[in-house]
């Protein structure tokens, strides 16, 4: 079994310099380009494929081509990782503030040994496409559309500007596949129909549409912020939060039909959508 310290090529350096925090920082930098000890080993990559299917494919898809929740890992350019050592770190510890969990905590699989993580990295590298397709869209026009005629920003925020009813899309361009983004725009309810386990939800909430009629006959429509058997917390299209007890409501209904309209090609052309994706990608890649 490989231990992490065994595979660091700068280990002698680390051993010499372990006397201070400053030295640790230096050693970390020295290790930054550390390569996978199993790099370019086809057998390791094959073993990594098994591990990938068990531990990663639920979000990142078969073949590492991305899913509705996890980014396409066949892209050579990755948002959170550059070197093999970065990737090892991310797989081991997860990415705080995202749905990427630490090794062994995703409810799938049983956690991986260091050797198995290096095998997965070997597999991911073997699947990478070195020259990803260039975005065909116009970033500036996409931004104009997002904040203007396409009305995206009425509900969605990007970099602190926009609405709160839908998910914040600041990072979505760097983490979701192009196909998933197009699907979300053309057919927004489809993703809501997916059954997601708690640990693999794309966003903190599922954006189910809630319609209630209060005891005094007032109808409120919005999306669920949270819900249990007895209470519901929701936000309406005016960004008002409502905290309600279900047993005090005249009616309560929940739908997986998204409040977001379907953007068909007669409303948003393929070219305009391409421009919006280019804008989201430019922001998401930051």
């Amino acid at each position: 079994m490989y231990q992490r310290t065994k595979v660091r090529r700068c280990r002698p350096v680390v051993l010499l310099w372990t006397v201070s925090i400053v030295m640790m920082a230096l050693s970390s930098a020295a290790c930054g380009d550390d390569r996978n000890p199993l790099a370019n080993d086809p057998k390791a990559a094959k073993a990594g494929e098994y591990e990938f299917r068990i531990n990663c494919a639920l979000c990142h898809g078969l073949g590492a081509r991305g899913g509705g929740r996890g980014p396409d890992l066949t892209r050579a350019q990755k948002k959170h990782t550059h070197s093999d050592a970065d990737m090892f770190q991310v797989i081991s510890n997860g990415i705080p503030g995202t749905v990427m969990p630490a090794n062994g905590t995703n409810g799938q699989g049983i956690g991986m040994t260091d050797e198995e993580i290096w095998q997965i990295i070997a597999y991911i590298r073997s699947q990478e496409v070195k020259a990803p397709a260039q975005s065909r869209g116009n970033v500036a026009h996409g931004k104009d559309l997002f904040y203007g005629d396409a009305n995206c920003s009425l509900c969605h925020m990007v970099e602190g500007k926009g609405g709160r009813v839908g998910p914040d899309l600041s990072s979505v361009g760097g983490s979701r596949t192009r196909e998933a983004l197009i699907d979300s725009v053309r057919n927004p309810s489809r993703r809501l129909a997916w059954g997601l386990t708690e640990s693999t939800k794309e966003f903190a909430q599922e954006y189910e549409t809630i319609t209630v009629v209060t005891a005094d006959g007032k109808e409120i429509k919005g999306v669920a912020l949270n819900e249990d058997n007895f209470s519901v917390q929701m936000i309406d299209s005016n960004e008002q939060i409502h905290l309600l007890d279900k047993d005090k409501l005249r009616s309560f209904s929940k739908s997986r039909d998204s409040l977001m309209p379907k953007y068909k090609t007669d409303v948003l052309s393929d070219k305009d959508l391409e421009d919006i994706l280019a804008f989201l990608s430019s922001v998401g890649a930051k």
């Binding site: 098994y50 299917r53 078969l62 509705g68 040994t113 489809r190 058997n229 997986r256």
Partner: protein, 533 residues
């Protein structure tokens, strides 16, 4: 003893407790006491509360007429992170429970104040499947017993938490572990192994409660020359899985334990292990003294969907028949004659698409097209099953079987995977199906006589909580959103709830101290106890 009686004769009872309480506090927990839990309903001495697996409390101080008044009495924070799956034991005012990473502790059951804490020093390379969980302990004499993540059985002094004996059952490095609450029969500590995800060869063990010496082992995958060995292709039996990770039940009349088994390994790939793969996904009737097999019933033959049959088998005596019922992970509710192991009925109690035929015994048989494929296709139930380890309950008062259920389908995919000792051995993975309906979770009340669902309560999302029924006419359960809920056992109407602030993966139990009834459950990282004001 009924709590109605407790209320009526409270002054006498309190006096009785004052006199007898201290004597009880030092009384040994004999096998005779474990056999007769109905004589002391204030105690909860086994995982399921009795040997029949009923998880039924004869206490009725808390009941349908006063459930709205239930209030939190105490909370004990375990300091652990992750899931709590423990069912506490309570004996003579002391509560014994476990938490992640093989913590065990004893509390004052009236206040939640700790008496002792045991924390196992686990090796750094333990990697148990599905969380570092433990479902509880067993008690006998002056000892409590737990199985550990590193595949040991440990006996602790019930008064101090000190280790009395500690024996290794198997090598944790090859994927063996224990998560199950052991079962005491006579002077034996009976326990089943976990590790189906690693391709262990499953077993059920019995240890001398005094010394820790192993008295018998039953391998759930037969070796060469043993009946059933022919149901495995080549050497696949050596890594065949069939773990035994949930607590069985015991019939003193026949001296048989009924122990359920889990999936064959690899879980999602049948190629390479052609045959029925006995005794995976089966119910085993074993002689409690010797571990010899009396009969078996295999629920899912040659399973390729990870549908462990490890749900608690519940003994029900009705119409002069001695039955055993199981709400199985594969979506069917089975009733067997427990004297013979013959199938009496199998009725779907959730969404199932994997079968449309029965064999000559009436057992549902998988369709060929239900097998996982390389790219995957959708089958219901999903890999998590219609139910899973969540403990069910049976109330003789309502004659209903209550079980947590989920409707969820998954896309099952498969790919060849070589066995490597100590490494995951699934033969693939499963995914949420985007063709399927959203997940739905329920508490279902099933009539075992007909298999019909009498009522169901739908949760906001599927829960992993077990269920308790009581003589007070209540069923109690938890939900994924953190609520503890008491429902009317007859109608399914929720009567009361409390938000505990953490998801529930454990099953509730009930006990009484000083004439006051409590209902306890683990949620988040804590144990909660509830009672009347």
């Amino acid at each position: 003893m009924k709590v109605m009686a407790l209320s009526a004769v409270r002054p006498i009872f309190v006096l009785f407790c004052a006199i007898a309480g201290s004597a009880f506090a030092h009384a040994q927990v004999t096998f005779d006491r474990l056999l007769n839990p109905s004589k002391e309903p204030q105690n909860w001495m086994t995982y399921s509360g009795d040997y029949a697996g009923h998880r039924f409390s004869a206490l009725d101080q808390i009941n349908v007429s006063n459930a709205q008044k239930i209030t939190a009495k105490w909370v004990y924070q375990t300091g652990a992170t992750g899931k709590l799956e423990t069912t506490p034991l309570v004996v003579d005012g002391i509560l014994y429970a476990t938490a992640q990473d093989d913590r065990a502790f004893a509390l004052d059951a009236r206040t939640g104040r700790p008496i002792w804490l045991y924390q196992r020093q686990l090796p750094g390379d333990v990697r148990p499947c599905c969380g570092r969980v433990n479902r509880g302990m067993a008690i006998l004499g002056d000892k409590v017993f737990l199985g550990t993540m590193d595949a040991h059985i440990v006996a602790l002094d019930a008064k101090t938490g000190n280790v009395v004996w500690d024996v290794a059952a198997a090598d944790y490095k090859t994927g063996h572990s224990f998560t199950v609450a052991p079962l005491i029969v006579k002077d034996l500590v009976i326990i089943g192994v976990s590790g189906g995800e690693y391709g262990v060869r499953g077993f059920i063990d019995a240890y001398d409660s005094s010394t820790g010496a192993r008295k018998w082992r039953f391998y759930t995958v037969p070796g060469p020359g043993e009946p059933g060995h022919e149901t495995w292709e080549g050497d696949s039996w050596k890594v065949g899985g069939a773990p035994a990770w949930n607590t069985g039940t015991y019939d003193a009349a026949t001296n048989q334990i009924f122990w359920p088994t889990g999936n064959p390994a690899p879980s999602n790939r049948g190629e390479g292990r052609a045959g029925d793969n006995l005794y995976s996904n089966s119910l085993l009737a074993l002689n409690a003294d010797t571990g010899k097999l009396d009969w078996y019933f295999q629920f899912t033959k040659h399973d390729e969907h990870d549908w462990d049959a490890t749900q608690v088998p519940v003994m029900i005596d009705a119409g002069g028949k001695h039955l055993i019922a199981q709400a199985n992970r594969n979506g069917f509710f089975y009733v067997l004659d427990r004297t013979t192991g013959k199938l009496i009925s199998a009725n779907a109690y959730g969404k199932t698409t994997w079968t449309d035929t029965r064999d000559s015994e009436g057992r549902p048989i998988a369709k060929k097209e239900a097998s996982p494929t390389l790219e995957g296709h959708t089958v219901c139930p999903g890999a998590l099953g219609t139910t899973n380890f969540m403990a069910p309950t049976y109330s003789a008062k309502t004659s209903l079987f209550y079980v947590t259920a989920r409707d969820q389908c998954d896309t099952f995919s498969t790919a060849p995977q070589p066995y490597e000792a100590g490494h995951a051995y699934y033969g693939s993975a499963y995914f949420p199906s985007d063709e399927a309906e959203p997940y739905r979770g329920f508490l279902k009340a099933i009539d075992p006589a007909t298999g019909q669902i009498k009522w169901q309560f739908e949760h906001t999302s599927p829960t992993w909580s077990g269920v308790l029924s009581t003589a007070g006419g209540l069923v109690c359960t938890g939900d994924a959103e953190g609520n503890f809920i008491a429902l009317d056992a007859t109608s399914g109407k929720p009567l009361w709830h409390f938000q505990m602030g953490g998801a529930v993966y454990a099953a509730p139990m009930a006990f009484a101290v000083d004439g006051k009834e409590y209902v306890a459950i683990a949620a988040g990282s804590a144990i909660y106890a509830f009672g009347l004001p």
